[in-house]
Each structure stands twice: as structure tokens, then as C-alpha cells.
Amino acid sequence: MNAMDVESADGSALIRLRGEVDLSWSQQVRGAVLDALGKHPRVGVELSEVSYIDSSGIAALVEGLQKARTQGRGFALVAVSDAVRSVLELARLDRVFPIVADAGAIPDVTGTPAWKP
């Protein structure tokens, strides 16, 4: 089933999502991402247990990325599942987000992506 928990330590927060991220709770995800960026210099969203994500879920992540950039925060997607990766690829956003293997690799500041469409 769907679940979200937030861990924070050493100036970074990790938002762990599980289940199917869809319209029924993507607003909560958006709220948690923006809230974490307000409190922590580095924020990661862990997606290894996410089996589905729709455009409202992707939109919440896009907003997080934009806020991180304007406020000079670090933001990354962590351990992206195949299901999420294929939606990111379909939306051509797979090279827009910093994607890292584990929470330790979340960047300090999110810069302009290396590749733009």
C-alpha cells in the first residue's frame, strides 16, 4: 500500500515513498517535498519502492526541483525504480533530475542540468 515517511539527519532529509504515487495523494507528496526544502539544505526523494507514478506525482517532483534551484538547495531523486524511470523517460525528464544511487550522494546545491531538451 501507499506510504510516505521522512528521515532527517545532518542537514538533509530523505522522503521515502512507497506504492503507487497518483492523484489520490500526490498533493501530500508535494507538500512534504516543499516542506522539507524549507527546512533542510539537502532533500532526496527515495523511489525504489514506487511501482507507479502519474503526471501529478511527477509534477510534485518538478516543483521540488524548481524550488531547490531558486533557493540554492540540494535536491535529487534517490534509487529510482524501473517503473518511475520509464515514466521519467517518457516525459523526457530523466536527465533533468539529479538521480543518485543513495542518500549520501544528494548534491549540496542543485545546479542547471547538464542536458536540456
Partner: protein
Amino acid sequence: MNALAAAPVTEAGASEARALAFLADLSQTLAVSLDLRETIDEAVVRIADFMQAEAASLFLLNDDGSALECRVCYGPVDLTGMRIEIGQGVVGRSVAENRALISANAQVDDRVDRAADEASGFVTRSLVCVPLATARGPIGALEVVNKRDGSVFGPADAEILRLVAAPTALAINNARMAHELIEQVRLKREFALARRLQKSLLPKRRRDAFPVLGVNLPAHEISGDFYDYFDLPDGRVGFFVGDVSGKGLDAALLMVRAASLLRWIGKDGTPPAEWLARANDDLCRTALDGRFVCALVGQCERDGGNVHFAGAGFPPALLHRDEGFTEYPSGGPPLGILPGIPFEPHALELGDGTLYCFSDGVTDVRDAARRTIGEQGVRELVTRHAGSSSGPRLRAMLGELKRMRLVDDTTLLLVERPSSRGHEVLLERRFPARPQAMRELRAALRGALDGAGIESGLRDRLVLAVDEACCNIIRHAYGDACAGDIDVRVLSEGNQFEFRLLDTAPVVDPACVKPKPLGEERAGGLGVALIDAVMDEWSLQARPDGRGNRLVMRKRVEARNQSGDDNE
């Protein structure tokens, strides 16, 4: 240290070096052996020589571990095949106590069983016996008898024999494990073969407009369930479905026999009650060792019209028509129990209805809470999938059952008027226009697309596109007044798939719905872009009566898994 004391040390050193060389050599021989039997024979001779013994023998525990049996023997008397109880004699005690035993003077040692000596005339003077130890306890024993120079065995000999026994035990243990593994592989192969034979008895799906369709999913390698359908000489169609009690290979063989028998009796259109009675009498003529066969046999017209059928201890047939259910219980006991029994037939005019026959594996399927889904669960399953065409429906139902816990072989067979339409309805269902309903919608879509043989990557993209379309209807068409439904219908015609969504929301201006370029970091407008990327084409129109909108999306699917085989 004086010279006198030094001599035995040197001698001991030399004998230790000799023992080590022998041990290394023996270990290597055993380790590389391809034929353990021969190698062990040779090893026992070499051990006897090395120990300077007149005789040596190797005992192994029998299969149930109750006694030891002499498997290899070297010496003047052949003890091969000799049985020794655990705890009996020096050998039995050595295994029971899992330690080396020495008898320096066997003639006066009470532990030594002298029966063999008395029978053969051989005189046992001195012996050493050590257990063949493994991690799971001793598997046998190794014994050497009488030193050739007439001296007696001592603790040093016992220690050397214990060292020698180690690689021997290891080699025997390894060989046994390898044998077990080979046996498992062989059994697996035989089960796979039995399953292939069974599957070859099940009919292939008919591509023509045909009124009967079945699927079978075995809970284990082999199944006790069967079904068949075939054309009758008078133009009608005969069908049967059955379930053999018990599991395993003998149940599988009875299944083969019952299926052939029912086919043989039914091929000429024998009326269902007589069909069962004859099969019952035939099965009763031979002992089934307490096994029996539950079956349902029937006939119907080619267009599905009149159906005649009879059951023998089979779960009730279920007629689903006009959103209602009627049960038809079996008219007699299972086959193969009592000869000469009559069976009560049923006859019905099918009309638009569908007659479902389920083996008890279906009602026994366990849900997430491990409860059986029962009659009620089966009816809900039928209702949920009622909109789609027979083939996709049966596959989607089976798919849903598979996601639960199968405890028994599961077979579904249905009889209905064959569709004259060129397309198949993969899904036709109404969902509430609420975000919380989308999870179920996606699951239903996945099931329908899986049933149509669409590869998982494309399936997921199609599910995403339909979900996005529904979310747009919920958010933008219905808006805040979120009280309405979305009618979802998925059709396939050849490789062309059509997804149609109907709503009753205020009419949307199609010009306002445009895809934004992908790849942009924008939080909004992504949904339509995703639909645009996944589907070949889509169109949004007001419904003709002006009440709501109609969105149709199309996708051509090139690669589809479309085997004629519905069985696992």
C-alpha cells in the same frame, strides 16, 4: 634427551610422514573419483595395506538408519551384506557412541561379536573400528582386523584410522548428495514431461466462432483437472470438465484415463446423463484405490442456444444472465464410487447468458487474508469481468485468481453464444470519477492488457495514458463537483486497440486540451503530453446528446503474444 629416547621419536616422525603422504594420496583419489563404488573398494584395500591389517571392512547405515550393513570387505572372509544392529558388537558400538574403539585382545573382549569367526573359522585377535563421521552424525564405520606382524592395534593405529576415515566419509557423503540432486533433477524432468502430456490432452482455443472456452491452471507441476470440447456428428458441440481427487503422479494418470474415457463415450453425442452413467460404470470396474472423479459433461448448439448437461459430484454450474445468477447442482455423486447410479440432467435455453463451470480450485482460491473466496467471491469475479468478450474475460479472471493464492488446480470453462463481432471487448466497466478509484482502474486495465498478450513495458505506458486521461476528466471536466462516473471500454480488433472514456461532466472545449512539449520543467500540462506520446491518436468530442464528453484513444500494437494456448 638421550639417544635411547630419541629413536622412537624419529620412528614416530617417519610413520607420521608416511601417514600424511598416504592420507594426501587417498584424499585426492577419493576427491577426483568418478565411480565412487570402485574407488571405495580400492580405498579399503589400500587402507588395509597401509594399516598392515589382515582384513578391513566398511559398513554403512541403511536407509532408515536402523542398522549397519557391510558394503565393502577386504580379507580372507567376505562379510559383504552382513547386518549389524546399532550398538551391537564393536562396529555397532563405535557408530552408536560415535568414537573409535580398540580391541587389543578380541578373544577375551565381550564387546566383540564372535559369530562371524565361528561361522568362518577366522580368528579375530585384534581390531580397531572408527565411525565415518559427517556433520550430521556417523554414516557408517571403518574396521581393520589383525595386524599382519601379529602385534596388537593401539591408540596410534586408531588415530591414523580416524584420519583415513575422514576423506572416505566425505567422499561417500558427497556422492550421496550428488545422487540426491540428480534424482531431484530427474523427477523434475519427469514431472515436466507429465505436465506436457497433460497439456497435450487439453483442447486448443478455437479461432472460429465457438460456444465453449476453457482454461486450466495447475497448482503444482501436474494437474488433476481436465476439460475438453469437440464437434459432434450432428453439428452440436460436446464439452466436459473434471477434477480427479488427490494429487501427484497417480492422480495425473487417472486424469488422463478419465479424460480419454469421457471423450470416447461423448464423441457420438450420447446424452449427458447416460454419458456419465457409462463413464461411472467403466471407472467402477477397476480399483481406483479410493480415488474418484468429479465431472460435468454437456452438449450445446453451435450458436450456444440449448444446453444439456449433467454433473457428477462437480461444483454447481453457474448461469449468469441479466445480472442474476442461477445455480445448477450436480445430479449425482462423483464417478468411480458406486456402479449403476443414475444421473439427473439439466436443460436450459442460454439466450444472452453464460454458463460457468468451475472446478473447486476456484472457490478454494485464497485472498490476501488467506480466506477462500467461496461462491460469493466467484460471483463477484464473474460480475467484475462481465463486460468483456469470452476470451479476454476468462484470461482476466484467471489472471486475477493467479494474483491470489492458488491452493488447488483451477479450471474454468464457459458456454455462451459466440460473438459475431469482429472485435473483442477487453474491458467494459464504470468507475467513480474519484482519484481513489484510479488504483482499481489501473489494476483492471493491467489485467485486461495482460490478457491480450501485451508486453509489460507497453502495457504500463498504456495504463499511464488512460490513467492520465481519467485524472484530467476528474480534475478539469468534473472539477470540484466531483460526483460522476467514467465509463471505460477497451476494444481490440486485430492489432488495433481502442480506449474509450465516457463522462457526464460539462462539455469541454477540445481546443483547450493541447499537449505541452515534453521535457519541460513545468508542473502542469504533463498529462496530455504523456497521452500524446503513448497513443497513436486521440480525439475528444462532446457526446451526441450533449451530456458529457467522449475521449477515444487508439494504439496499434505490433508485437503481441497471441498463442492459441490459454493453459499454463
